[in-house]
């Protein structure tokens, strides 16, 4: 989608001062998700004439009365033929206040992995329910995924209010039930909005049919929700991606450690420790893409210069000496299995954490989780596509993982098939939900791997 921005021509300064919000949608075709997304794009004037013309043409050829906004988000031929969405699609739109990246994820049961994928980078998730059906199993699943992936803001969009007479009591009951459920899972912030995506109520324009609702429209909320928070309380983490050594006449001794700050902030003069070696030094300089700065923070890509010539390479983690994570070869985590072949106990895998990839073995799969009711199934033996479960993984080298609850970037990892490179599972270190769980048993022998 190419965006249009309704500002007076040439207000470049105004345009460049917008922030970026990444959000995800969860809900099924039946809930009107495509219509909601189409409505957001259409009413924020992000749909351009040629796209609308294509939609009108396609709608007419299918015998539809007016333009079917859901067709705006139609992707590949297989999907058009089958009327389904097979993958995450990314959509782009903007208002004068903010730029948006929308991860549009299908809501069917077999597509948990797509929702997990979309939610993994989202600052906000929109969970859609049909006002006539209220909170159903699928809604609870969506809430659980948002909670599991630690999406900071959740919007409950109660859709099809026009089909329940725009009744406040219907909305209030659903909002209350959802808020109680998602709150229990530890979702930090929930905003419920009554809408009709089809008629346009409270999506972009405030609804005249629901005077009883005094809150923001969906778009207003998206425009104003905070996208960053105070970083002073976060652990600072810089995974080293690449060592920059020009070795030229102009820069004979330059040695910079390039990476994207994964969490928190770093300052020049700060004492730092490099993991896993444990060597220490001080930050001599921070180069912010050609500009020296005194302080830099997530998610800025920087190059850090250290005072001492110590051995640092890709895969290392630079942290403040006053706040070092513990390193371990035993990782307890929740994973979402995303591959078509099962994940089994004893499987040899590669584990990618930040910029470091190490060999690992799946030691145990203590439980599988049913998202509908959060029930645990002990020792399932394997996880299949779209399963969410607890795993214990033993790695060949120590890793400095944070709890995913504390840091999404340094608490997440991938499990990869060493044979063909397939991404097998998406992992989140530490406890799954805000509720405490029992720790699981100690790992068994290393089965002949040289750890």
């Amino acid at each position: 989608m190419t965006s249009t921005i309704d500002t007076a021509a040439g207000e470049l300064a105004g345009l460049s001062a917008t922030t970026l919000l990444r959000f995800a949608t969860a809900g099924s075709v039946d809930d009107g998700k495509s219509t909601l997304v189409g409505r957001l794009l259409h009413d924020s004037k992000s749909v351009l004439a040629d796209q609308l013309e294509a939609v009108e043409h396609a709608s007419r050829s299918r015998g539809a009365e007016g333009p079917d906004l859901a067709l705006l988000t139609d992707g590949l031929r297989a999907e058009r033929e089958q009327g389904i969405t097979i993958d995450v699609a990314y959509r782009y739109f903007a208002t004068p206040r903010r730029r948006f990246i929308l991860a549009d994820t299908p809501g069917h049961v077999q597509y948990t992995r797509n929702m997990v994928t979309g939610a993994s980078t989202a600052d906000l998730a929109v969970v859609l329910v049909d006002a006539r059906n209220g909170v159903i199993e699928q809604t609870r699943r969506h809430a659980a995924v948002a909670a599991l992936l630690r999406v900071p803001h959740v919007v409950l969009a109660v859709n099809k209010m026009d089909l329940v007479g725009y009744e406040e009591t219907v909305f209030a009951r659903i909002a209350e039930e959802f808020t109680a459920y998602a709150g229990e899972l530890g979702v930090p912030e929930i905003t419920a909005i009554p809408i009709s995506a089809l008629a346009g109520d409270n999506v972009v324009e405030p609804s005249s049919n629901m005077d009883w609702y005094g809150g923001p429209t969906v778009l207003e909320h998206l425009e104003t929700v905070p996208v960053s928070h105070d970083l002073t309380s976060c652990h600072a983490r810089l995974p080293v991606q690449y060592v920059i050594r020009p070795q030229t006449a102009e820069h004979p001794d330059y040695r910079g450690y390039a990476g994207q700050i994964a969490a928190g902030a770093f300052r020049v003069g700060e004492s730092v420790t490099v993991l896993p070696s444990g060597r220490t030094s001080k930050v001599a300089g921070i180069d912010l893409l050609g500009k020296p700065v005194d302080v830099a923070w997530t998610p800025q890509s920087v190059t850090v210069l250290l005072e001492d010539d110590i051995d640092v390479s890709r895969g290392d983690l630079i942290v403040p000496s006053s706040d070092t994570p513990s390193t371990s070869q035993d990782i307890a985590a929740t994973v979402c299995h995303v591959a078509d072949t099962p994940l089994v106990v004893g499987q040899r895998v590669l584990l990618k954490h930040t910029t470091r990839t190490v060999k690992a073995i799946v030691k145990q799969i203590p439980s599988r989780l049913t998202l509908d009711d959060l029930s645990q199934h002990p020792n399932p033996g394997q996880l299949v596509a779209n399963d969410i479960g607890r795993v214990l993984v033993r790695t060949a080298e120590p890793l400095a993982l944070d709890a995913y609850a504390d840091s999404r970037r340094t608490g997440s990892f991938l499990l990869i098939d060493p044979a063909d490179g397939t991404t097998l599972a998406a992992g989140m270190a530490g406890e799954a939900f805000a509720k405490a769980e029992d720790a699981h048993g100690a790992p068994a022998d290393d089965e002949g791997w040289d750890f």
Partner: protein
């Protein structure tokens, strides 16, 4: 390789409090800073994980922005990648001049895969409509195989077209360079999985999350020079399929098509035979940005014949190994 590229001194706000909406902390980045940081992260990830990366460079605005980001990602060291240009033989001369100047300025290595060469050898045949864009796929994929490139950066953006909306940042291609939308790996967080078997390669799209307007705003912020054809100029053009095409030896005008001299500019730069100009009097970056912000057409809708071939044209070309 010469030394450090001349990295423009970005004058955009780098997250200092200026211009941040009141609802955000002083740590909020502007959208351009966030996109820039993400793209740099992608370039460095590839440099750290691949043996022989190459940047597809067409001399169009997206590949120019890609190169600029790569220069910033590795400064003060040189860019550790070569450039690859798929030359259709129908390029605008201004674009080829620009390409050669950039290569010389930054001491880069340029590989060229030539469509004309394939036609001369009889391997490829000219299409009746004269367009050579679909003919680029074979020279591109054979060059990738011959040079054993294992990561190929492309300037594709997800906002361009609906098949691209489903594209990954790291997009795995088999030994035939084919893209299978059902076989793409889920891509989570900022953890990119670039593992591949010998003979396979990964297409990497650092501008995945940028829109046309973002690209132009960034060009303005960073004062990046562009080929002149992106700005309004007088040109001999003729109308075909509702687009203003440049008259030339490549195949136009034909019977019934009339050349006229018009004030035009290009929103996208591809093959002369399928890239249309738009009427415009925008001679500066600010004027171009205002024009785009007010436009009611997408850049491809306004200017690209190659996407109009069929409802699934891009999807089909991507499957075969196109950019």
């Amino acid at each position: 390789m010469t030394t450090a590229a001349s990295v423009h001194d970005g004058t955009g706000n780098s997250g200092d409090a200026e211009g941040s909406p009141a609802s955000d902390s002083p740590y909020a980045l502007s959208h351009l800073d966030a996109l820039e940081s993400e793209a740099v992260h992608i370039f460095r990830e590839v440099a750290g994980e691949f043996e022989r990366p190459v940047i597809l460079f067409s001399g169009g605005k997206d590949s120019i922005v890609m190169l600029h980001l790569a220069l910033k990602a590795f400064a003060p060291a040189p860019v550790p990648f070569a450039l690859l240009h798929v030359d259709t033989g129908h390029n605008f001369p201004e674009v080829i001049d620009y390409r050669d100047r950039v290569v010389a300025e930054h001491g880069l290595r340029l590989h060229v895969a030539s469509v004309q060469d394939y036609i001369d050898r009889g391997v490829l045949r000219e299409r009746p409509d004269g367009t050579r864009n679909p003919l680029q796929t074979l020279p591109l994929t054979e060059k990738i195989q011959a040079e054993r490139f294992d990561a190929v950066f492309g300037g594709g953006r997800r906002d361009e077209e609906k098949a691209r909306a489903k594209e990954r940042v790291f997009s795995l291609r088999d030994e035939f360079s084919q893209w299978d939308p059902r076989r793409q790996r889920p891509e989570l967080w900022q953890l990119y999985n670039g593992r591949h078997a010998p003979g396979e390669h990964v297409r990497v799209f650092p501008l995945s999350n940028w829109t046309e307007l973002d690209v132009w705003q960034y060009i303005a912020r960073e004062s990046i020079a562009l080929p002149e054809i992106y700005f309004a100029h007088e040109r001999d053009v003729f109308k075909r399929s509702g687009m203003w095409l440049t008259a030339g030896d490549w195949g136009g005008p034909k019977d019934g098509e009339h050349v006229e001299r018009r004030l035009v500019r290009y929103r996208t730069v591809g093959d002369m035979s399928c890239t249309g100009a738009v009427d415009s009097d925008a001679t500066t970056l600010a004027a171009v940005i205002s024009e785009i912000a007010a436009s009611r057409l997408t850049e491809r809708g306004a200017t690209r014949a190659d996407d109009k071939l069929s409802e699934a044209a891009m999807e089909d070309r991507k499957r075969e190994g196109y950019f």
